[in-house]
């Protein structure tokens, strides 16, 4: 049994282990057998376009939705049999804000502390720590409705970190943040990871996933690729030639039949993977001439991994 092998192979540093997770909403199958593991101290990005199932997976791991098939184990606790146990061990930052706007930063954090069983002096000490860590100490008396988007997100992170969870889950954490705040956010995530927290985030932004230690790409409920960004790119070879033209079907036919190259057609593009891509360009330019709009050459990125596996563009 593959399933049992996977479970027995889990090491003690595994913080999130999903094995054969299926999930359906009525007739629609949102997840079709997802296997995934996140270890302590890494930032793991769940990358996928909207509707790929990443939010469903996020909800399963955060126990908002019960596991239907397969198993989800978070910090050693099975999400199906002990959801409340899992909840005590995860910090969550939602895509939409979860702050009470009518309360101050301090009061919001005190609320969170009460929900996680922190009280009295221990609560105040821990609150000072997370506020300091998120550089919020001077804003602690402000009402949350007065804070900027970046600051609000930092309060969310402070809330999530409050009970020192071994696992941190973030759903599209950089939504609505300006570039400076995004940078800030990533610094916070990196410091969490270096302290041994397993950080799992979902994103539909390729450049964001690129910053993670490891990535899993989801499409239509299936995990189509996983590994470090460098590994994923390396799997695509060194060079990629992209031909853009109005009649991509004809171009594909010529490339395949006349030139004998392996090509993939994606909407208006025809893509050719080759270790010596540079050498192909003059030949292609010669053959097509005015027939095409552009012939470009580049190193494959994460989007190319996605296109390679699914046959269509990322967004």
């Amino acid at each position: 049994m593959i399933l049992n092998d996977l479970i027995s192979s889990t090491s003690s540093t595994d913080r999130i282990v999903c094995t054969g997770v299926h999930h359906r909403y009525g007739d629609r199958e949102a997840l079709q057998g997802v296997h995934l593991s996140v270890v302590a101290g890494e930032i793991f990005a769940l990358l996928g376009p909207n509707g790929s199932g990443k939010t469903t997976l996020f909800r399963l791991i955060s126990t908002l939705v019960p596991v239907q098939r397969g198993s989800v184990v978070v910090a050693g606790i099975n999400a199906q049999s002990d959801p409340l146990g899992v909840r005590g061990r995860i910090g969550i930052v939602f895509q939409s804000p979860s702050l009470d706007k009518k309360l101050t930063v301090d009061e919001n954090i005190a609320c969170q502390a009460a929900l996680y069983g922190l009280r009295g002096a221990a609560m105040r000490r821990r609150r000072d720590e997370v506020l300091e860590l998120m550089k919020l100490t001077d804003r602690r008396g402000d009402f949350c409705e007065k804070l900027s988007g970046g600051l609000k997100r930092r309060v969310e992170l402070a809330k999530g970190l409050l009970h020192q969870p071994p696992v941190m889950l973030l759903d599209e954490p950089s939504t609505g943040l300006d570039p400076a705040s995004r940078l800030d956010l990533w610094q916070s995530l990196q410091s969490m990871a270096s302290a041994g927290v397993a950080v799992l985030l979902t994103t539909h932004l390729l450049e964001e996933a690129d910053k993670a230690d490891r990535i899993a790409i989801l499409a239509e409920g299936k995990l189509i690729a996983s590994g470090s960004p460098a590994q994923l790119r390396a799997s695509m070879g060194d060079g990629l030639v992209t031909i853009v033209g109005s009649d991509s079907g004809e171009i594909e036919r010529i490339v395949r039949d006349e030139l004998g190259l392996v090509a993939q057609k994606v909407q208006q593009q025809v893509r050719i993977q080759s270790p010596n891509a540079a050498a192909l360009v003059p030949m292609l330019a010669d053959r097509f001439g005015d027939q095409v709009q552009s012939i470009t050459i580049g190193r494959p990125g994460l989007e190319d991994v996605f296109i390679e596996k699914t046959g269509h563009r990322f967004l």
């Binding site: 889990t10 908002l64 146990g85």
Partner: protein, 303 residues
């Protein structure tokens, strides 16, 4: 990064096989009335309180609107009404006004559960390791406390201006209003919990909660079910007798005017019956709200 100390609360062994036997016990503990749950409930109740008093217009409207109702209807209908014990309408309508304050405040406190969900606050509460009951207890106790204090402020004015005699029965009034506050808040939660918009709540409020108040003998006496009564009176009388709030109102009226004998009124259940029904009303609405909240997973995802 010394501030981010090593993650706590990790079990010594991380293999799922060794954790499994403990699962059931962990789960029972967290569902039981744990101290953490009470702390969470207390915090949520306190939050209701803080939010309410930060929104001044809510504080004022919850008292001023019933007060205006009381003065306008009381004065306007004064000449055309004689209740039991020679009461004029201003006196008759006083218990109804207090009930209205409790009802309004309770409704506006529980409606906030919809806002909490829309604004996102609720999602962080629902993923906390405390289960559902602290949410209910926090909302109901917080809302009931606000409603009770509002009613007390109004009651203070009533006694100050001598609209009702101040006697030892005021303690009974205080207890009764607290129970009514709990019942109304739980009722509000039953309505608000499955809803995703405040518009829907307003519709239910106008179609369900306001008629419940109107048909409790707060605005007009409950008609008799005798030989001389018309068909319409029979139907109305039966509905009003089936309304648990009617029993709260009879008892509230008795406690506010201890000197007046209401036994001659068309609807006068005994003191014991009134108290039992009030306690049951509060207990059953709370129980039902809890069952509703525990059963619905859908509401978790309405963000």
């Amino acid at each position: 990064m010394s501030l981010l100390t090593t993650p706590s609360s990790l079990p010594a062994t991380a293999s799922p096989a060794t954790v499994a036997p403990n699962d059931a016990s962990v789960r029972r503990d967290s569902l039981a009335l744990s101290p953490a749950g009470f702390a969470a409930a207390w915090m949520l109740a306190k939050r209701e309180w803080v939010r309410f008093f930060r929104q001044r217009n809510r504080v004022i409207s919850a008292v001023v609107q019933p007060l205006l109702f009381w003065l306008l209807f009381g004065t306007g209908l004064r000449g055309s009404f004689v209740g039991a014990g020679e009461q004029n309408f201003l006196e008759y309508f006083l218990p109804g006004t207090i009930a209205l304050i409790v009802l309004f405040t309770a409704i506006f406190s529980t409606i906030s559960v919809i806002e909490d969900r829309r604004e996102g606050f609720m999602q962080s509460v629902l993923v906390a390791p405390v289960g559902r009951w602290p949410v209910l207890v926090g909302k109901v106790l917080g809302g009931a406390a606000i409603a009770w204090v509002q009613a007390m402020i109004f009651l203070g004015l009533v006694y100050l201006f001598g609209a009702a005699p101040l006697t030892s029965s005021v303690f009974g009034v205080m207890l009764l209003l607290a129970l009514m506050g709990v019942a109304m808040c739980s009722l509000g939660m039953i309505v608000a919990w499955p809803m995703d918009s405040t518009q829907g709540f307003h519709a239910i409020m106008m179609l369900g909660l306001m008629p419940m108040w109107l048909l409790s003998g707060s605005f007009f006496p409950i008609p008799p079910l005798g030989e001389g009564s018309s068909w319409g009176q029979m139907v109305l009388g039966a509905i009003m007798r089936a309304n648990p709030l009617s029993y709260c109102m009879v008892q509230l009226r008795r406690l506010l005017y201890p000197a007046i004998e209401f036994g001659a009124a068309a609807f006068a259940p005994s003191v014991v019956v009134c108290w039992i029904i009030t306690v049951l009303f509060a207990a059953l609405t709370t129980l039902f709200a809890w069952r509703l909240m525990r059963g619905s997973r859908r509401a978790d995802l309405t963000v």
